[in-house]
Amino acid sequence: MTYAIETEGLVKRFGDTQALAGVDIAAERGRVLAVLGPNGAGKTTFVRILATLLRADAGRALVGGYDVATQSVQVRQLIALTGQYASVDNELTGTENLIMIGRLLSMNRLTARSRAREMAARFGLADAAGRAVKTYSGGMRRRLDLAASLLGGPELLFLDEPTTGLDPRGRNQVWDTVRGVAQDGATVLLTTQYLDEADELADRIVVIDNGQVVAEGTPAELKARTGGRALEVRAADRLATAQVAALVQAVTGLTPEVRQETGLVTAAGADAAMLAEVIRRLADNDIEATEVGLRLPSLDEVFLTLTGHQAGDEPGTADSTGASAPDAGRAA
């Protein structure tokens, strides 16, 4: 048994909506697999099937070597799930939530209690543990949810958009936890809309769109396919935008995308040497820039490259310029 998760032709339909249209993936034991895709790509459906919460219409899924459809009792002993919406009990305190999970995992009263205290402390909830969860912030709630998931030391951890709605600090804490869990040998499958999150955490990324796998590989492989990083320059003076675009084109040999309304000039497929050259030439030409940098391609750009259409759009239309990853900033 080499794979921790294996799926074959998973199909799920809700009425007229095809949520999954034959998904095949394989996740290696002890690794982090990211399932990357826009809203409505089928990520949550996929995770819910693996976590035995939904039944697939067709296909097969093995988790830890057990079939999720016929051996759900075994599967549930190996997994833990933290969903998009924190599934903790608002009416109970943090400690009571954790004790309840411990007791449901057949720990005795004493073990459940000490484990609850330990987990609360590890997730920075020691002070808040005695308070009702309804008084918690979004970040605390998510941390409690993770603590509940990890309380039993699961072999496999499913995280469905674990950082959606969190502030940067909360997101870093979640990332930290995921790294710790993987380091301890558990397998992690996380879904995300953010390429940088997948890049930061995952050993392998599966890109899904409209219920199908459209690309798969290591973060480096995928980035190579999407043409590396994007170079961005914004002139302080909007009137200099055209001049900046010409300069970027001269340095990179790429045709930059110019957004007139913001003055942002973007060239996809750039590298660090080009960035240095652009900065030098900007100085030479006495152009003041408010923003110069290299960033990972946004999910929009990855999608455009991999599927030929923008994330969330119907195939064939590629004209919208929607939201991108939450933090584009990452310098060379």
Partner: protein, 297 residues
């Protein structure tokens, strides 16, 4: 020239956590701690019972934290008792004192029905909030979340009966039998309550939103509780079709059995009839609720 290159670098630095070691979140977790032995292929009856009790404990703690959730079941018996007693007392039984003897045991039966409504609402709420997703992804018995909710609701039953009986006694009600028959009366009421809880569970699983649960519950509890001997022990003035309905209605038999056990009178056939109904209700609604639960969540 100003650039934000330096700022971007800072963002990156903060995402790689300095000095992260085994002491970080999740650091001391034993990998696959649950995998000391191969996973069990089924959940034992003993574990199922333990799971249900844990989830019943959850419901009881919830009510302890938010006693305001019990407000309806605390106010309802008091309001009903006082209203019915003083509105109908003189007309129906000649005096409020005489009516109280008939009314209080009847209200025990009626409140056993009404008190089940909150359960469906709470359950529907749990499902919508995703709490049940957690339970379903844990290796717990499938019946545990539902059974736990019903068992934990015992607190609600106690609150209703406590308030009702307390008010009744304060207004002058006296038990004419012994301790055992009185306990048996409340025991019968609980058995019926337990059975009707499964109907409430079923509604909680079917209802599109927690708000609709109460509306649906009222529709079916009204004819059952008012079309019975709850308010009058003498039903001979009712039209024939209503008498027929009252006679088959298990609430009538519960009310009459409670009357017998608290103020004296026939008990046996009423109790048996009501118990048979309770068994029948559970036999039908429990498997249905389990089916709906498996499908719905």
């Amino acid at each position: 020239m100003t650039t934000n290159t330096a700022e971007m670098t800072a963002v990156q630095a903060s995402t790689t956590i300095p000095g992260r070691d085994a002491a970080g979140p999740g650091g001391a977790l034993a990998p696959g701690a649950r995998r000391q032995t191969e996973p069990r292929s089924r959940i034992s009856g003993r574990q199922a019972a333990a799971n249900a009790l844990t989830l019943a404990w959850r419901n009881i703690i919830q009510m302890r934290h938010s006693p305001e959730k019990l407000l309806d079941v605390i106010l309802m018996p008091a309001v009903f008792l006082v209203l019915f007693l003083y509105v109908f007392g003189g007309a129906v039984a000649g005096s409020t004192n005489a009516y109280l003897e008939i009314l209080l045991p009847g209200l025990v039966a009626q409140m056993a029905m009404f008190a089940t409504m909150g359960l469906g609402t709470a359950l529907c709420d749990d499902i919508h909030k995703g709490v049940f997703d957690r339970f379903r992804s844990l290796p717990v018995a499938r019946s545990a979340p539902l059974l736990g909710a019903v068992l934990g609701d015992f607190v609600r039953f106690l609150a209703v009966m406590g308030v009702l009986t307390g008010f009744g006694v304060a207004l002058g009600f006296r038990f004419h039998t012994g301790l055992m028959p009185v306990l048996a009366a409340y025991g019968l009421a609980y058995v019926f309550y337990f059975a009707v809880c499964w109907v409430s569970v079923l509604i909680g699983l079917i209802a599109p939103s927690p708000e609709t649960v109460q509306g649906i519950s009222f529709i079916w509890t009204m004819p059952l509780t008012f079309g019975s001997s709850v308010l009058l022990s003498n039903t001979r003035t009712m039209p024939g079709w209503l008498q027929a309905w009252v006679k088959v209605n298990p609430v009538t038999h519960l009310a009459d059995a409670v009357r017998g056990l608290t103020i004296g009178g026939p008990v046996g056939s009423h109790a048996l009839y009501m118990l048979a109904w309770a068994a029948g209700i559970v036999a039908v609604t429990f498997p249905l609720a389990m089916r709906m639960y498996a499908r719905r969540v």
